[in-house]
């Protein structure tokens, strides 16, 4: 009798233990809280209890640190304001003019400080060189991103991009119909790049675009360097750093730049036009990554979810950049049609540099650019 009671009690205890364990584990799967430690290693929103739990955890953190994302860059300003008002999380935006390497330097230099950047938005070369610094994460709309545009484990994924263009003030220079127009005497001292070609991606791709327009191949950028050397000899190339002020006052009325960045000159110069030569449509995308030591891991992941929601993607589209989910959104009809129609026209087949080609271009420029420019 006693033994039977014991067995029954044991059995009940075992069953109870199982039930508690089952309840416990299922509640941790659907728990209303997503603690900081789980957020730090969560690779998807569901791993942290679902998007609602993520929102709660992010709100508890209350802050987000972003870097090198000025409000006028691909219309980030709208995304930042939207995120702040939707979730009440304060975004601190640092180093607005920083380069991708500056972002990485900030991550390594600030380490575990509470002011370190949470998320990064970088060019390809720098992204690939620092994989050990990121935390893998896959946004809810991960499937909409092509495999070639993301890392399979979720360390990085592309965000927006555009095509290299020649932007110009049509009242200061004649209409540009082909690259070699720039060698004409009307362009004396007027043509500039956006940044130094040895360091800035926009400038490197500008030289590469000239290279392609001159009949060169993506593997060898020498024709592009030669073109700019010619431009310099003709006195048409301006070594000045092209800023919105130099464009507006007419010192650099012709600038090689990404089409979505070039478009921003339109607010200072209403007669700003964009030219892309049909045999030289050169495109590039930027990459997103989450800092492994992000001081606000839940907010960082929530920010990514926001950027990759239809709202976030359309924000970038309204900044004249092409969001990475564009094809999927056109199919599903969630794209902002007016913004899509306002994109600069592209009348050729786009070319994207592979990592090897970009690296080779960089090496060539580091060795030859300064000489070509002096």
């Amino acid at each position: 009798m006693r033994i039977r009671n014991l067995t029954r009690h044991l059995g009940l205890a075992v069953v109870a233990a199982f039930v508690v364990a089952a309840c416990g584990s299922s509640s941790s799967n659907n728990s209303a809280t997503c603690s900081e430690s789980t957020a730090k290693t969560a690779t998807t929103a569901s791993a942290c209890g679902g998007i609602d739990a993520l929102v709660v955890a992010a709100k508890a953190e209350g802050k987000l640190n972003i870097i090198a994302t000025p409000p006028d860059w691909a219309n980030y300003g709208e995304a930042i304001n939207g995120f702040q008002s939707k979730y009440g999380i304060t975004i601190t935006s640092d180093n607005p003019n920083g380069s991708s390497q500056d972002e990485i330097n900030a991550v390594t230099q600030l380490g575990t400080s509470s002011r370190a950047p949470d998320v990064l938005d970088m060019g390809k070369a720098v992204t690939l060189a620092n994989l050990q610094l990121y935390a893998p994460y896959k946004v809810a709309t991960w499937a909409d991103i092509l495999d070639s545009q993301k890392d399979p484990t979720g360390l990085w994924w592309q965000d927006y991009g555009g095509y290299m263009s020649i932007g110009y003030d049509s009242t200061k220079v004649p209409t540009i119909t082909t690259l070699t127009d720039l060698l004409k005497p009307e362009f004396k001292g007027k043509v500039a790049l956006n940044g130094n070609a040895k360091q800035a991606n926009a400038a490197l791709q500008g030289v590469m675009m000239a290279n392609l327009a001159q009949g060169g191949t993506p593997d060898n950028i020498s024709k592009g360097v030669d073109f700019f050397h010619q431009l310099k000899q003709a006195g048409n190339f301006s070594p000045v750093q092209a800023t919105s002020a130099t464009v507006a006052n007419g010192t650099t009325p012709v600038v090689f730049d990404w089409d979505y960045l070039s478009a921003s000159h339109g607010k200072d110069v209403p007669t700003w036009k964009i030219f892309e030569q049909s045999n030289a449509i050169l495109g590039d995308y930027y990459q997103q990554a989450i800092n492994k030591n992000a001081p606000h891991p839940a907010a960082a992941r929530l920010w990514e979810e926001y950027l990759y929601s239809d709202t976030g993607q359309n924000d970038w589209l309204r900044g004249k950049a092409r969001p990475v989910r564009m094809a999927a959104m056109i199919k599903s009809g969630t794209i902002d049609k007016t913004a899509a129609a306002a994109l600069p026209a592209v009348n050729g087949t786009p070319v994207f540099l592979t990592d090897a080609q970009a690296s080779a271009a960089k090496d060539y420029l580091v060795a030859h650019w300064d000489a070509a420019m002096s």
């Binding site: 330097n105 130094n196 070609a197 040895k198 000045v240 007419g250 010192t251 960089k362 420019m373 002096s374």
Partner: protein
């Protein structure tokens, strides 16, 4: 009533008890040395020390061998000449301007305003200073356009504003005010009695400057010139705004190796260039102290 005359007084003044002189004297410098040890020596050591490591963390001298790259050598020479030129010209013009201000009313409004403007402009630089000049004598600047209308096209050859001569002119914009501020206290130390004494002895302006004021001002003048040299040598933002392509200035090359988008990140190399810069400024400082000693002897 002479105070300093008594030998007994001057013998006891300033000497601590017990004769343990040297160790106690060091105490006065401890706060300063401790501070710079933490906030200057330590960061400098971190930077300069980093030049002997490669990307994997192993010891190497390869960063120093890279200093022989053609564009580095060229940039070094150009930066030294640019700095020397703007230092000397800035020092002379700045000294003249300081003198023009110093002989005025020491309490006057003019002095207050000019010194305040000098303070502001001495630290003015970068993209905005470059733009200030672009808006004035750039190819779209109103002074240039006015001159061109009157058949004086200053850019007939090439746009020199965007080359080293233009950079030198823009550098003078902050070098001269800096000179005014650091040299003015020396000019304030000139007593009017010296001038009167020289004249009562029959000397003229030439004698006054050559034998009285000159030797007294020479150390401050040379020291200020050295400061101007170092200031110009390490300047970055202004050169980068004006001559973004070609990077003629050595600090631009450092920036290129530490910042950027395309993976041209070479931290060890950047630090090796920093070592080179410290060495150059040290050499110039040694030259300066030799010159100090020579001039003090020569002007005696």
């Amino acid at each position: 009533m002479t105070i300093a005359g008594s030998p007994a007084v001057s013998a006891t003044a300033g000497r601590p008890m017990g004769g343990r002189r040297l160790p106690l004297d060091w105490i006065g410098t401890v706060p300063f040395l401790a501070y710079v040890a933490v906030f200057l020596f330590l960061p400098t050591a971190i930077v300069l020390g980093g030049s002997v490591f490669d990307v994997n963390g192993s010891l190497t001298l390869i960063n120093f061998s890279h200093l022989s790259r053609v564009y580095i050598v060229k940039a070094t020479i150009q930066t030294i000449s640019l700095s020397a030129f703007t230092a000397v010209v800035g020092a002379i013009l700045g000294a003249l301007l300081a003198y023009a201000i110093a002989v005025g009313n020491p309490e006057g409004l003019l002095r207050r305003l000019t010194l305040s403007i000098s303070g502001v402009l001495a630290q003015f630089g970068g993209v905005t200073l470059a733009f200030a000049f672009i808006a004035t004598i750039g190819p779209a600047g109103f002074v240039y356009l006015w001159l061109a209308q009157h058949h004086a096209d200053i850019y007939a050859g090439s746009i020199w504003l965007f080359e080293l001569p233009g950079l030198a002119l823009v550098y003078l914009y902050f070098q001269i005010p800096l000179m005014v501020l650091v040299f003015m206290p020396a000019l304030d130390g000139i007593k009017p009695q010296w001038r009167e004494a020289t004249e009562s002895l029959g000397g003229g302006t030439w004698h006054y400057w050559r034998y009285v004021a000159g030797p007294l001002l020479a150390p401050a003048f040379l020291g200020a010139t050295l400061l101007l040299f170092a200031n110009s040598f390490s300047a970055y933002a202004t050169a980068n705004a004006l001559i973004n392509q070609g990077q003629p200035v050595i600090s631009q090359q450092i920036n290129g190796a530490l910042s950027g988008e395309v993976g041209s990140f070479e931290p060890g190399f950047a630090k090796a260039i920093a070592v080179e810069m410290v060495v150059i400024v040290t050499l110039v400082t040694v030259l300066y102290s030799l010159l100090q000693r020579r001039t003090s002897r020569w002007l005696q």
